[in-house]
């Protein structure tokens, strides 16, 4: 626990001193959101949500989509330790391999939730996102669940893959495929039938289900328990698999 905390703290310091990735990841959705808001709003109105502005989907959708990119950086953190040659120093310490892995993952879960919350805050201020009786706490629970499952996927990828390029592929393809199929880019109602059938196998789907409950149906905490349980349960299972698969003595290529 102590060593996990030490690794978590140093990861947070690294991010604090090198925040440009997160700044860019905050800026890009803010550019994209206004472009899609009206179109998505019209689609929602046509599908039985007469008061919808479009922000109810576009804000969580972009948070979910770009959230996967942000989560991908947790995997890069593992590879970066190899690139900086600090990995062997960590391994030679009294820290267990699992505590190193969780020490890297935990700060990214915190950052991931903060990132999604920041986009929701920007949506509130700039795009007129309103909860309309829904629970902001329930939104936060969905964000936390999504953060756990994304970081779980990324940690399993980091435990399995050998090169940074492979990690980049998982990050990019995962974000676009999960986001697209899960209803983060366009409302689920607009997806073709086969995609709607596949959607529940993506974490984005359950995150969007939770957000739709809160933002479109004025849902509260109990209304999101199902999606949140699926997200956290899947995330925990993936994290356990990552810890089991993870071999600290495996060589990883930072520049390959």
């Amino acid at each position: 626990m102590r060593t996990t905390l030490a690794v978590t703290k140093v990861q947070l310091r690294i991010m604090k001193n090198d925040p440009w990735f997160l700044i860019v990841m905050l800026g890009m959705p803010l550019v994209v959101m206004p472009l899609f808001k009206q179109t998505i709003g019209l689609s929602l109105v046509a599908n039985g949500f007469p008061d919808a502005s479009g922000a109810e989907i576009v804000v969580p959708g972009q948070a979910v989509l770009f959230g996967f990119f942000v989560g991908g950086s947790a995997g890069f953190s593992v590879f970066r330790e190899h690139g900086w040659r600090t990995w062997d120093r960590l391994r030679a310490s009294a820290a267990s391999p699992a505590s190193l892995l969780f020490g890297i993952a935990i700060p990214w879960i915190i950052i991931h939730v903060a990132y999604q919350a920041a986009l929701f805050g920007a949506g509130y201020l700039l795009l007129g996102l309103r909860w309309n009786g829904g629970s902001p706490i329930a939104s936060l629970m969905v964000m936390a669940g999504y953060a756990v499952v994304v970081i779980g996927i990324i940690m399993l990828a980091a435990a399995t893959l050998r090169t940074m390029n492979q990690m980049g592929v998982v990050q990019n393809v995962g974000a676009m495929a999960f986001g697209g199929l899960g209803g983060a880019l366009v409302p689920l109602e607009q997806l073709p039938g086969w995609a709607e059938a596949v959607a529940p196998f993506t974490p984005a789907y359950w995150a969007m289900e939770g957000h739709r409950e809160v933002l479109l149906k004025s849902g509260g905490i109990t209304d999101v328990l199902g999606p949140v349980a699926i997200l956290i349960g899947s995330g925990a299972a993936l994290a356990a698999l990552a810890a089991r698969r993870f071999r600290a003595d495996e060589t990883k290529e930072f520049f390959a």
């Binding site: 102590r2 060593t3 030490a6 690794v7 703290k9 140093v10 310091r13 690294i14 001193n17 090198d18 900086w84 040659r85 600090t86 990995w87 062997d88 120093r89 960590l90 391994r91 030679a92 310490s93 009294a94 820290a95 267990s96 003595d249």
Partner: protein
């Protein structure tokens, strides 16, 4: 403090270690000498828990390092050959992190960070980012990170390779001080002067085997040789009953015995113009190494 017995490690057909032993007592500095590929780094990696051996045992401070690796790791500080620091956080943050990782509380790691920084000439750089340091400063920080928790066993793998003179002096002083404070130190280097100035015990390893071990004085009196080493332009040297040059590298020969440069020139006679260079071998660690391994320390291992 460190008792390693019968360490073996193979990579396919390549035997990196063949039953190597290493003993280091508290307060003792052991210089581990060997050519590139001799097995030094493999040995340190096994002792530090970075590499699983095929056989053997390691005890650190009485703790079996293979059955209780976490407990053993708390006693060890290692600076691997490749410098490993965090470039985007400060020198202080690097030091405090490795202190925290080793279990130091906030106050202890803060004061130890300042102590080791001062010892290694980094006290003015504590608030500078690791990535902004010069090569020598980076090397010193890399070493300092291994010292910060006052390890009982310190292992430095070529800590001064590529370093400037000031860095070498500071690293050697820091190592000496740590040993005076009771730490056991294993120090690998290609610079024999460093081993001499540390007054270290010496362990010579070659092809994965420990070939000799002892104090410098004992090794010099038991193993050292005198003679000459010479390089020709490709012309084969003369041979005779009491003159048997051994080719140690391409066109490079060694003759041991009570032989001086005029004797060599006399042996070559009219062919002395084929001599490119001649070096007299005197009894010292270099010739101990030569006598024990048949090669110079800076010769590459050929597979």
């Amino acid at each position: 403090m460190l008792v390693a017995r019968g360490l073996t490690k193979s990579y396919g057909d390549v035997h990196a270690l063949r039953g190597a032993d290493l003993d280091v007592k508290a307060g003792q500095i052991v210089g581990l000498l060997g050519r590139n590929g001799a097995g030094k780094t493999t040995m340190l990696s096994i002792i530090a828990g970075l590499l699983a051996p095929d056989g053997g045992s390691v005890e650190i401070g009485g703790i079996d390092a293979f059955t209780n690796p976490r407990d053993a790791a708390r006693l060890v500080g290692i600076a691997p050959q490749d410098t490993g620091i965090y470039p985007v956080i400060t020198v202080r943050e690097n030091l405090e992190f490795f202190g925290e990782l080793a279990g130091l509380d906030r106050k202890a790691r803060s004061s130890r960070a300042e102590e080791v920084a001062e010892r290694l000439g980094l006290e003015q750089l504590l608030d500078r980012r690791g990535g902004k340091l010069s090569g020598g400063e980076t090397r010193r920080l890399h070493t300092a990170c291994a010292l910060v928790h006052t390890p009982k066993l310190l292992m430095l793998d070529e800590p001064t390779v590529g370093a400037d003179v000031a860095t070498r002096v500071q690293v050697i002083e820091a190592v000496r001080k740590l040993a005076e404070d009771g730490a056991a130190v294993v120090y690998t280097t290609h610079y024999l002067q460093e081993i001499e100035s540390l007054a270290a015990e010496v362990v010579i390893i070659d092809s994965g085997e420990v070939l000799a071990a002892g104090s410098q004085e004992d090794l010099i009196s038991n193993h050292s040789l005198s003679g000459v080493r010479f390089v020709t332009d490709g012309h084969p040297p003369p041979t005779g009953p009491d003159f048997e040059p051994v080719e140690v590298a391409e066109n490079t020969y060694r003759v041991v015995g009570d032989l001086q440069m005029p004797d060599l020139l006399a042996r070559f006679g009219d062919d002395s113009s084929h001599l490119v260079s001649v070096e007299t071998l005197r009894p010292d660690l270099e010739t101990v190494f030569l006598a024990v391994t048949g090669s110079r320390l800076d010769d590459e291992v050929t597979a």
